[in-house]
């Protein structure tokens, strides 16, 4: 199973990539922990999490093909 992870805005200054694929991840909390291991400064950032284009507030199970996005505060307009 694979999950697509998208990075936006100032998050990309940390990751240097705008997307990555993550293998075997039970839920979003686990995914975030893995990402923080890979990008330690992520732990200091504020961001919203979207699962398949819907904002989520709590830990959510992941299945193959899901897309998770890490989105810092919006600044459109």
């Amino acid at each position: 199973m694979e999950v697509q992870v998208l990075f936006f805005g100032s998050i990309t200054d940390i990751t240097n990539v705008t997307e990555t694929m993550v293998a075997s991840c039970a839920d979003t909390d686990t995914l975030i922990s893995q990402l923080i291991q890979q990008y330690p400064t992520l732990s200091n950032k504020k961001y919203f999490i979207a699962l398949n284009q819907k904002m989520i507030q709590t830990n959510s199970p992941l299945k193959s093909g899901d897309t998770v996005a890490l989105m810092p505060p919006f600044s459109g307009g």
């Binding site: 936006f8 100032s10 919006f74 600044s75 459109g76 307009g77």
Partner: protein, 150 residues
């Protein structure tokens, strides 16, 4: 109804004044319209540490925005008696003095167009995953912050 159909709000680069004129002109045949309300966002030469912004580079989670906008549009047409509503937000680089946001609402009576336009501008700034990166003359950059967000 065609005016309520979902479509992308994104516009590549600055929004030309001519597009605004053309869009206004298209509404001359809709004779049930009595009021248009338009909001335009223009890139400002803000100063930060003695350096002036020369442009903003916009990126977005495009698919998510366009999906959100279907729900938001439906809610606005439910809440306000609108004839039509058109929204364009720039992606990519928009220089100081250029237009990056164009919100255009029309209705029979003015309150619907004005209130909807106003609420849509707030919604775009607060709820849509769009980001601006301010670019300075020396090529340094700072991620734009909207006061309203968080």
């Amino acid at each position: 109804m065609s005016s309520k159909q979902a479509k992308s709000i994104f516009f590549s680069g600055p929004i030309p004044a001519q597009k605004i004129a053309d869009d206004i002109q298209k509404h001359a045949t809709k004779t049930n319209i009595g009021a248009h309300s338009i909001f335009l966002g223009q890139v400002r030469a803000d100063m930060m540490h003695d350096k002036a912004v020369t442009a903003i580079e916009y990126t977005a989670y495009e698919d998510m925005v366009n999906e959100q906008m279907q729900t938001i549009r439906a809610a606005f047409f439910e809440k306000y008696a609108l004839t039509c509503m058109h929204i364009y937000h720039s992606l990519g680089t928009v220089a100081v003095g250029e237009i990056c946001l164009f919100v255009f609402t029309s209705s029979a009576h003015r309150r619907d167009a004005i209130d909807a336009c106003n609420e849509m501008v707030e919604t775009i700034k607060k709820a849509l995953p769009i980001w601006g990166k301010e670019i300075f003359a020396d090529s340094s950059t700072v991620w734009k912050k909207n006061n309203e967000s968080w």
